[in-house]
């Protein structure tokens, strides 16, 4: 197994209250080269799970292994794209993409590598610009190029297009799909958009909320690039699974709001 999540649980201590259980006994095997989406209502712990895979968060129980090695800290074997671009504003686009390469490659090789990755996200002519000069979608492209520059087999994406408008979102979804096909990376992609999950994933992992558990491991057997009409049917299936979850979350939240 390439990436293996074994009995992972996570709870956060709360002041004067019971600890908040974010994840409970998550088991998830992921094959090399798979495109996996983690889908679920807000608060289902999907971002926490991704953060544990990245080595940024420690699980309270269980473990995650990448190629049979336990993940304990962030490292060059996995790269991550966040919902915010998280670019360093004091660096130009080029310098940002160079950041993960600084110590790995010589100056000359860095230059050609950066040029290559910027070309993949169609931003070659913006190499000398600074992040604040770019639109949100372009910034997120730089972030993707920077993650690709890590040249790791595993790419973790935490709602990378959540803050973008619909058009930009669709364009970037197509680009990520293309990059995934070209690079053969394993991608774990957190989203709360059913359509996004269906469009991109081989498998959709549907999660329940509080505590987050896996309620369905949903295979998407559609030919790529996926057509709107094929996706519509699956959307209903996934929605049916999710609906109960979303309803129970909303009910809980309403009760919570009512009790105040």
């Amino acid at each position: 197994m390439y990436l293996s999540v074994n009995n992972v649980g996570k709870s956060f201590p709360r002041h004067g209250e019971e600890p908040l259980k974010a994840l409970e006994t998550i088991n998830l095997p992921i094959n090399q080269g798979e495109f996996i989406s983690l889908l679920g209502p807000s608060g289902c712990g999907k971002s926490t799970l991704l953060s544990i895979m990245a080595g940024l968060t420690e699980p309270s129980s269980g473990s995650v292994s990448l190629e049979n090695e336990r993940i304990t800290e962030p490292g060059p074997d996995k790269s991550m794209v966040f919902q915010e671009p998280a670019l360093f504003p004091w660096m130009s686009v080029k310098e940002n993409v160079t950041f993960p390469l600084r110590k790995k490659l010589r100056k000359k090789e860095q230059e050609s590598a950066v040029a290559h990755f910027l070309q993949m996200v169609h931003l070659s002519q913006f190499a000398e610009n600074y992040p604040h000069e770019l639109s949100g979608g372009m910034q997120q492209r730089v972030a993707i190029a920077r993650a690709l520059a890590m040249d790791s087999g595993l790419l973790l994406m935490d709602e990378p297009f959540g803050a973008l408008d619909e058009q930009t979102r669709q364009v970037l979804q197509d680009e990520v799909e293309k990059i995934w096909q070209e690079t053969k990376k394993t991608i774990v992609f957190v989203t709360h958009s059913i359509r996004e999950a269906i469009k991109l994933s081989d498998r959709i992992i549907i999660m329940s909320a509080r505590p987050g558990t896996i309620i369905s491991d949903f295979k998407v057997d559609l030919e790529r690039p996926r057509q709107q009409k094929d996706m519509a049917l699956l959307e209903e299936d996934v929605m049916a699974i999710l609906k109960k979850e979303i309803e129970s979350v909303m009910k809980e939240e309403l009760q919570h709001a009512g009790s105040h």
């Binding site: 990245a54 940024l56 800290e73 962030p74 790269s79 360093f88 004091w90 992040p131």
Partner: protein, 253 residues
């Protein structure tokens, strides 16, 4: 109407009112001199180079003192941001010291260093250090967690993380610190120089007062204000705006 023209009109009216009060003759010239006499005094001071020497001397004190305070302030700020124990103990003291007006340090400086340049520089250093410290501390403490996370996923940690990410990310606060340190030092400088044996703008100011030379007193006050605002607006605010823009922190101010 452009702001420059509004300002010119404002200052022209102000000078006319001043001249009007002078012409009314209610107070003797030794208390309210004419603005034209003040202008003549300033011009004469520049012509015979005395004011030039004063300004140069003041700037020398300021630059030495400010440089020292920036170095100490930066190091103290990093210490407070990184070491909790230091923050909880030394931090409280620095916060208290920051509220002590710089002129309070002058008697202490005179006892320690006598009527020397060292006295003045000491007061300037004290004036700038604490505000730099507090800004540097906030800058380092407030580095956006997302930068740290992103850097860590790219394999940066320890010294590399600190110097390549934390330090540059805190630059906007550091620049504000430098600007405030300059402003505080400039005020402290005048306090220090007034009790010195010259040369320096502050010294000449108190000297002019001793000899009842009101036009020189007012002239120097004007020079101090003009230099202060020129340096602040032409140098520091520009740098600050540039940095804030680059760092994507530009606010609709």
């Amino acid at each position: 109407m452009p702001a420059v023209i509004k300002r010119i009109i404002f200052f022209t009216i102000l000078i006319l009112i001043w001249q009007g009060i002078f012409l009314l003759g209610i107070w003797p010239e030794s208390m309210i001199p004419s603005p034209f006499t003040v202008a003549e005094t300033i011009i004469a001071g520049f012509a015979d180079m005395t004011l030039v020497y004063d300004i140069l001397a003041s700037f020398r004190h300021l630059l030495i003192g400010l440089a020292v305070s920036l170095v100490i302030g930066t190091l103290l700020g990093v210490l407070l941001a990184k070491v909790k124990l230091a923050d909880e103990t030394l931090g409280t003291m620095i916060l208290a010291l920051q509220s002590v007006p710089s002129i309070v340090w002058v008697p202490l400086a005179i006892i320690w260093f006598g009527f020397t340049e060292a006295s003045i520089i000491f007061v300037v250093v004290i004036g700038g250090t604490f505000v730099m410290t507090m800004n540097m501390r906030i800058g380092i403490k407030n580095v956006a967690p997302i930068y740290l996370k992103a850097a860590r996923t790219m394999g940066s940690k320890g010294m590399d993380l600190f110097f390549k990410v934390v330090v540059p990310a805190s630059i906007p606060h550091a620049v504000t610190g430098v600007r405030l340190a300059w402003a505080f030092s400039w005020r402290a400088l005048m306090a220090g120089e007034m009790l010195s044996t010259g040369p320096g703008l502050g010294y000449t100011l108190s000297y002019a007062s001793d000899f009842n030379n009101m036009s020189l007193v007012i002239g120097i006050i004007i020079i101090i204000g003009v230099i202060g605002s020129i340096v602040d607006q032409l140098i520091f605010q520009r740098i600050e705006n540039k940095v804030l823009k680059r760092w994507g922190m530009e606010e609709a101010a």
